[in-house]
Symmetry: C2
Subunit: 193 residues, 2 copies
């Protein structure tokens, strides 16, 4: 059985498992869904599931690694003349464009996370890790502390607030625009009256 | 036994349990310490421990409620003429003064948290809750969204970075000063070149 499946090609098994997991989490709730059910819906085995994901929670955070790579490489790759906050803004805009292509998936994912305290905690950890990675990328550009960490934390705060607005059905702006708006608003509130 | 202890006055049982817990977490590690050992070191019973704390993790977060109350009441109580970011800065300074009186405790507590991933997660959740509470207090002052959330998130970012510098042995500034410095630096990095 194991060898048979290992030898068989599973077209886009990862993506199918992600979609099936999100459907089941939305229909039945995250807690009530088992890995066996996710596998069953895709016609794959549990063994295949665990080849891609550590557990049913991590299906929802599988994109965190590539998001971090995109943010870090954009910050690191900005020309030397670009100010730290503008390098971070460029990275967030690049991330925003990726999310824009997955708006429906992102919205449903956020609904599942909002309904579960443990998933909200995991999301906070993801955001904290992204802030640390951005701060490190800024230090790599020669930005000193605490400026590097403050810029990174401010960037993640802007992203978080913009993302919440973007998820909100009522708001029809695109994410990159909302990120720019949030950064402008942050500048205004920080500068004070 | 239960009745006897319930009837006996335990002077500052909460504070003694907090101190004993922190000593044991520092000496043996958080994971290796049991509630029985914490109780034993104070001469109190496990039953008394659980009268004050839900579990051994919550001993380290027992102050979060009063910290939140202090932040919220300071933001809410600032005169109407005070700008949102300045109301938040005043709240952080008030919190800073409270931490200053417990510098040694705070430093040892941070050492325990830094050594344990689950405690770091709990700390992130605490900070996120504080940001939400501050945002709500700002909305209570008539600040609109997303300005309220952005101001609150920026304030917590400033506090987090200042707190890390304050915990660092090498730095001898007081926390209120570090908070002011961090806010000034945030203004500078956000404004850009």
């Amino acid at each position: 059985m194991y060898n048979l499946e290992m030898g068989r090609w599973q077209p886009n098994a990862r993506g199918r498992l992600e979609q099936a997991a999100l459907e089941l989490y939305t229909e039945r709730g995250f807690e009530q869904t088992t890995v066996a059910e996710i596998a069953e819906r895709t016609g794959l085995t549990e063994r295949t599931f665990f080849r891609y994901f550590a557990d049913k929670r991590e299906v929802l955070f599988a994109g965190a690694g590539s998001l971090q790579e995109l943010l870090v490489s954009t910050v690191a790759g900005a020309p030397d003349s670009v100010a730290p906050i503008d390098a971070v803004a460029a990275a967030l805009a690049a991330a925003g464009a990726v999310f824009e292509e997955r708006r429906d998936y992102s919205r449903r994912r956020q609904g599942v996370i909002a309904a579960n305290a443990a998933l909200q905690e995991r999301e906070l950890i993801k955001l904290a890790s992204l802030a640390s990675a951005i701060a490190e990328a800024l230090r790599g550009r020669g930005v000193k502390e605490p400026a590097a960490s403050l810029t990174a934390e401010a960037g993640i705060a802007v992203f978080k607030i913009a993302f919440e607005r973007w998820i909100d059905e009522a708001d029809r702006h695109d994410l990159a625009q909302l990120i720019r708006d949030s950064l402008d608003q942050l500048k205004a509130v920080i500068a004070g009256p």
